[in-house]
């Protein structure tokens, strides 16, 4: 048999390595540059990170003894050693009560917290605030996301601009296959499916650029289906919206054909080939057909005729959009 | 097969052929139990198709729905044919058990087969009618769900009829020996199982769809 001491030393090294790995994850949460919810940009992501820490600590009650005691058992009760050997001992009531009871208690506590947090952080639950939520309609294409601001009557591609400290109410669908919309720094992901509508509520607490993406494989361009979420103050947000209204493209049938094709937002930008308004880079649409989102979600024809030539129509569009939403 | 194993105290889940069929009686034990287990897995398949069907009742996509296409008369006739065939198969099983003679056994089995084939013929006619009225599977999700559930049952019935013919062939070559008896016992389980599945189809799809 191989020399026992080196085997035990290697065993000890192994579990130490795994302990280090696990603790490294918690250390990471201090770093500022990291993408994802370990560097949260909003209270939902904060709460999720906290919950993660809580779960790890609770489960460690059960896992840590395994990590610590297993190498010790293998070494202490080794064949060549002198420890007590009781070949027929195979049951102890007290130990059984412990090994069943402690996990039951841990799971019990985790269950209570799980129940509360799942309901509190439900993506479908509107966020309580004294500000009215910003409505954003999201459509997943291959391989880009279209963001429609129905109250403002504009849309963007490749960049989502949001005001800070104001709840955002997302209504989502897919124009192609199943996808998942995700801005990790702000909160939960949510699936989007063709002919179905899902909901999501997020809120940003600070300004910054956050990574957003599709996290459900949908073909060759999946890895490129990313966008930037830029959170700014409400005033700057209003300014950007105005600039989009004056300088953006019309989302007409030609543009829509580009959206329906399999490409990324950069390909669409190149095809539309002129300078977008700030904050570039992105594709900006100053006019969007009425009820575009619901037409896509219900497989109904798009109301192209509703697209007016003048920019006055933009405010009419937004009024109609608000009315339509109120009658949903 | 030994009768001395720990698990072998006779608990016949199928037809209890009884002592006069000594060898077949013990050979039956494992094979019939195994067939029951197989039927359980088949039951799960049908159960899931039922559940899927129920969730897709609303998916008619503007096309014809159950009240447009389904007819009680046809379904009722099919139900009667299948129930009768289960009865006649029961008579066949009894005549096998009580040694009532080859002629009687084959007689009952032939009647069962004819009833089963009658069921299939009627069902195919019904499907033809449905399709010609616009109720074809690619029309909508609802019709797809219908046509993945009901014809699967029909396919099972067709398989059972084919099995019956194969057993007739075995009888011609080998007389009614142990393997034939075991085969008949298992076919009986399948036949009654298909009858039960049809009852659920009749209740859920036809009665449920037309009320």
């Amino acid at each position: 048999m191989n020399s026992p001491p080196s085997l035990y030393r290697r065993a000890a090294f192994r579990w130490l390595l795994s302990l280090v790995a696990v603790s490294a994850f918690t250390l990471l949460s201090g770093c500022d540059r990291l993408p994802g919810f370990l560097n949260p940009g909003g209270p939902i992501a904060h709460a999720q990170r906290e919950h993660l820490g809580f779960v790890i600590l609770m489960v460690m009650i059960v896992v840590l003894p395994v990590l610590v005691l297993t190498p010790w058992l293998v070494w202490r009760y080794r064949y060549s050693g002198q420890a007590s050997y009781r070949p027929r001992w195979s049951f102890s009531k007290l130990i059984d009560v412990l090994i069943w009871g402690v996990p039951v208690i841990v799971v019990g506590v985790l269950s209570v917290v799980l129940w509360q947090k799942t309901i509190a952080l439900d993506p479908y639950k509107p966020i309580e605030s004294d500000k009215t939520p910003l409505e954003v309609q999201v459509i997943g294409f291959d391989w880009k996301w279209l963001f429609i601001y129905p109250d403002q009557g504009v849309a963007t591609l490749g960049r989502l601009i949001l005001p800070t400290d104001r709840p955002v109410s997302f209504t989502l669908t897919s124009a192609t296959v199943m996808q998942t919309f995700f801005i990790p720094a702000l909160g939960s992901q949510i699936d989007v499916m063709n002919r179905m509508v899902t909901r999501l509520h997020l809120i940003a607490e600070r300004e910054g650029d956050f990574m957003g993406r599709n996290i459900q494989y949908n073909g060759e361009g999946f890895y490129k289906q990313q966008f930037t979420t830029q959170t700014v103050s409400q005033n700057r947000f209003d300014t950007y919206i105005d600039q989009i209204r004056t300088q953006g493209h019309t989302l007409d049938q030609g543009a829509y054909a580009l959206l329906k094709a399999q490409n990324t937002w950069k390909d669409v930008a190149n095809a539309l080939s002129d300078d977008p308004p700030p904050p570039a880079p992105m594709v900006a649409f100053s006019q969007v057909p009425d009820g575009l989102f619901h037409a896509i979600a219900r497989h109904q024809p798009v109301d192209w005729a509703g697209l007016a030539e003048s920019s006055d129509a933009a405010s009419n569009t937004s009024e109609r959009a608000i009315q339509e939403r109120n009658t949903q | 097969m030994t009768t001395h194993t720990a698990g072998a105290s006779t608990r016949h889940p199928g037809l209890n052929l009884g002592e006069p069929h000594e060898e077949a009686h013990s050979a039956n034990e494992e094979l019939v139990f195994g067939f029951w287990v197989f039927m359980m897995s088949d039951f799960i398949i049908f159960g899931l198709l039922f559940a899927t069907y129920v969730t897709m009742l609303g998916g008619t996509a503007g096309g014809p729905g159950p009240s447009d296409l389904l007819e009680m008369k046809g379904a009722f006739i099919e139900t009667m044919l299948l129930l009768a065939s289960s009865f006649t198969f029961g008579m066949a099983s009894l005549s096998l058990k009580y040694h009532q003679g080859t002629a009687k056994l084959i007689g009952w089995l032939v009647v069962t087969l004819l009833l089963g084939l009658g069921f299939l013929a009627h069902e195919l006619k019904d499907f033809h009618t449905m399709i010609s009225e616009g109720g074809y599977p690619s029309r909508s999700g609802y019709l797809s769900a219908f046509f993945s559930l009901v014809p699967l049952h029909g396919l099972h019935v067709a398989g059972a009829c084919l099995w019956m013919l194969a057993i007739f062939g075995q009888m011609a070559v080998h007389r009614i020996d142990t393997q034939v008896k075991t085969g008949l016992t298992r076919l009986a389980i399948l036949w009654h199982f298909l009858d039960i599945v049809w009852i659920v189809i009749f209740s859920l799809v036809y009665l449920g769809g037309l009320t």
Binding site: M1, A11, S18, A21, A24, F25, L28, L34, G36, L38, A45, H51, V55, V62, V66, L67, P71, L73, Y77, S80, Y85, P87, R88, S90, D96, I99, P103, V107, K117, D122, Y124, S188, M193, N194, R199, R213, Y217, F222 | T2, T5, A6, G7, E30, G34, V37, S41, D42, I45, L49, T52, P137, S138, S140, S144, S148, V173, H174, D177, Q179, G183
Partner: protein, 701 residues
């Protein structure tokens, strides 16, 4: 796939060849990927030719046909299942290494095309689950379980051969898909509408559907076979509560197979109806509902992962008990825990799609149910630790796997509880954290269990041990390689990197993907060690021979037979009086009782049914994939005719006379007297002839 279809070749065209695209549109990307794909295809063709050439050279066709392919002996079939598993393990690990290499270079691009990468992660997952893990555990249960319950064979030996044929058929289809490409890019889960005709009209998804269907049918039949055997063929006196724990896990696994496979049959069957007959079960339009597929798939998928892990738990129970020289701690609790896990596994499937939009209350209920399964699993871990407590632990190769399992699997359990929490899962679902978790369960759990079982029972199957030196190298490389390849993925998942992504743009991910790439290299080395171990062991088989049959001083009935085991297993069915039956006999001083009298034994004859069904399965799957309807129809008819013809078969057994059995037993008893009994410190050396020093008042020597 061509646009026009011919009757004979369906939609098979020149573009199915892996180098076609490279020749037609040479770009840097298509050339690199074309070379890799052609290399893989070349390996398949060369491998098949080499195998045929070697068999011809050594004149072994008759042996292959008569002793193996047409055999209905559970031991032979079990070994063949494991052969498939090991070959497919090799292929799927190479695929994994390519993916890790791609991601190590994946900042902004890499060398693999997205299409190729899509095929790689799909085949990797599909093969590992359906053609590595399932055959491996089916093979182990096949070989070991009848011996442990004191039976002669499974209840339905011909069905066993058919199960093997179906798995081989699916594996063959997977290998053919390397030569006549492409395969699906829809993942091993195959979610519609991506896998519907509109998004993926080509043969890829169809290859996947039929390969998986063949495997599913095989496993359903194996499950039936195992369950009936355990219920009906236990030796006299072996009540259920006296069975070795491996048999309990085999029983629960087979129940899960019987009830858990049908949902997948339904899901893939309905998807096939959508693709072939223009049904609308899962399409987005005309009333289809893709969420039904997801529910059906995971109604299979969750029991499936318990099918994968329970046999490994069974192996570990045997290994811990044997190599601690001690009774398994808490047998009754372990049985209850195993049954609880089996039952609960049907109640948690929704945790695979918390993010699909159902209500928070539903999510919470399933989250709690998922955590509940963690309780019996945790109890099992503690029970194994308590088996070592106050034992005399020998760190043999199987034990290295077992101890590594205890530590690493617990970490996987932690990540499982994290994922089971819906509010956290909304952050890490479909990220690399998920990938890390399930590999954390499958590699230290399933794979270590299978490799430990392979090492533990190898000498029983072949009459000689596996070389221990290479065994240790393999085991430690697996442990270190796994940690280095997968622990970084936990970090990447928390940082928001998705699964199934060929490349990325954030340099923060790069150090982790490089580390994972190095881990993959170490795992490749572990595979090399396993191959070397087999090679060296075969070369040294005379020195490593253990004809005595009990190299590990085992506790259960399979060790009360010569190695390799005669076809009939036991000359007389043993009478069992206790738990750990063989150990009890050794403690009573009568390890190998000579029977008072010998009876002739009836043995089932060989049959070509398994081969016929297997070949038909491949042909039907291939025909349906490429729209060669005549091929599919013809071989469906062949299979049907074979099944009907089998019903006419009589005289399907032969009888071994009592004198021959007595001769074999006496020869073995004579051998036993000649060999030097050894104490445990020599058990992995050449001194071990399979005869242990008997226990002293219960204490293993």
């Amino acid at each position: 796939m061509t646009d026009e279809s011919s009757f004979l070749l369906g939609r098979l065209g020149w573009d199915a060849l892996p180098f076609w695209d490279m020749i037609q549109n040479p770009t840097r990307e298509s050339i690199i990927n074309g070379i890799i794909a052609s290399g893989a295809a070349g390996m398949v063709v060369l491998g098949a030719l080499a195998a045929a050439a070697l068999i011809t050279w050594y004149g072994k066709w008759k042996v292959l046909w008569c002793d193996w392919l047409t055999s209905v002996d559970h031991k032979k079939i079990g070994i063949m299942f494991i052969v498939i598993a090991l070959l497919m393990l090799l292929r799927a690990v190479i695929e994994a290494a390519f993916m890790r290499a791609q991601q190590a270079f994946g900042l902004g691009g890499g060398f693999l095309s997205p299409e190729h990468y899509g095929q790689l992660f799909t085949t990797h997952g599909t093969i590992m689950i359906f053609f590595m893990a399932m055959p491996f555990l089916t093979g182990l249960i096949n070989f070991v379980m009848p011996l442990q319950i004191g039976a002669r064979d499974l209840s339905f030996p011909v069905l066993n051969s058919v199960s093997f044929g179906l798995t081989a058929a699916g594996a063959a289809l997977m290998m053919i898909s390397l030569v006549l490409a492409p395969f699906s890019t829809g993942g091993w889960t195959g979610y519609p509408p991506f896998t519907e005709l509109q998004a993926n009209p080509g043969p890829g998804v169809d290859y996947w559907i039929w390969g998986v269907t063949l495997s599913t049918l095989s496993s359903t039949f194996s499950g039936i076979n195992f369950a009936v055997t355990i219920y009906k063929k236990r030796a006299p006196g072996m009540t259920l509560m006296r069975m070795p724990l491996f048999c309990w896990t085999a029983l629960c696994t087979s129940i899960l197979m019987i009830f858990g496979m049908p949902p997948l049959t339904v899901a893939t069957g309905l998807l096939a109806l959508d693709r072939y007959l223009d049904f609308h079960m899962f399409t987005a339009d005309l009333g289809g509902n893709m969420m039904n597929y997801i529910n059906l798939f995971w109604a299979f998928g969750h029991p499936e992962v318990y099918i994968l892990i329970l046999p490994a738990f069974g192996v570990f129970s045997e290994v811990f008990s044997t190599f601690s020289g001690k009774r398994l701690y808490g047998y009754t609790a372990l049985v209850i825990a195993t049954m609880a896990i089996a039952v609960l596994s049907f109640t948690v499937w929704l945790h695979h799609f918390f993010t699909m939009g159902q209500s928070a209350h539903i999510n919470a209920v399933f989250g709690i149910a998922t955590m509940l399964i963690g309780i019996p699993t945790g109890v099992k871990i503690f029970d194994w630790m308590l088996t070592m407590y106050r034992g005399r632990v020998r760190l043999t190769v199987p034990m290295v796997y077992a101890v590594g399992f205890l530590i690493l699997f617990s970490i996987g359990g932690l990540s499982g509880i994290i994922l089971a929490t819906p509010s956290i899962d909304y952050q890490i679902h479909n990220s690399l954290f998920l990938v890390a978790h399930f590999h954390n369960m499958l590699i230290p759990g399933l794979l270590f269990g299978m490799l430990a079982g392979y090492t533990y029972w190898f000498s029983k199957a072949f009459g000689f041990q596996l070389d221990a030196r290479w065994g240790y190298r393999a085991a430690w490389s697996w442990i270190v390689g796994f940690m280095l390849a997968f622990f970084p993925l936990y970090a990447l998942g928390l940082l928001g990197m998705p699964r199934r992504t060929v490349a990325f743009f954030d340099p923060v991910y790069l150090p982790w993907t490089i580390a994972a790439g190095l881990g993959a290299l170490i795992i490749l080395y572990a595979i090399v060690c396993l191959m070397a171990q087999l090679w060296v062991s075969i070369k040294r088989r005379d020195a490593l021979a253990t004809p005595g049959g009990d190299p590990w001083d085992g506790r259960s009935l399979e060790w009360d037979t010569p190695s390799p085991v005669p076809e009939y297993n036991f000359p007389v069915l043993p009478q069992v009086n206790s738990h750990d039956a063989f150990y009890r006999q050794k403690c009573d001083g009568a390890p190998h009782e000579s029977p008072a009298r010998y009876e002739p034994i009836t043995i089932p004859k060989n049959t070509a049914m398994g081969v016929i069904i297997g070949v038909s399965g491949t042909a039907v799957g291939f025909g349906l994939t490429w729209h060669m309807w005549w091929l599919a129809l013809a071989f469906s008819a062949v299979a049907l005719v074979a099944m009907i013809a089998r019903g006419f078969a009589r005289n399907t057994t032969w009888t071994l006379d009592a004198e021959a059995i007595e001769r074999q037993q006496r020869a073995w008893a004579h051998q036993l007297e000649q060999f030097e009994p050894i104490t445990r410190q020599w058990e992995q050396s050449e001194a071990n002839r399979g005869v242990p020093v008997p226990p002293n008042e219960g204490a293993i020597q």
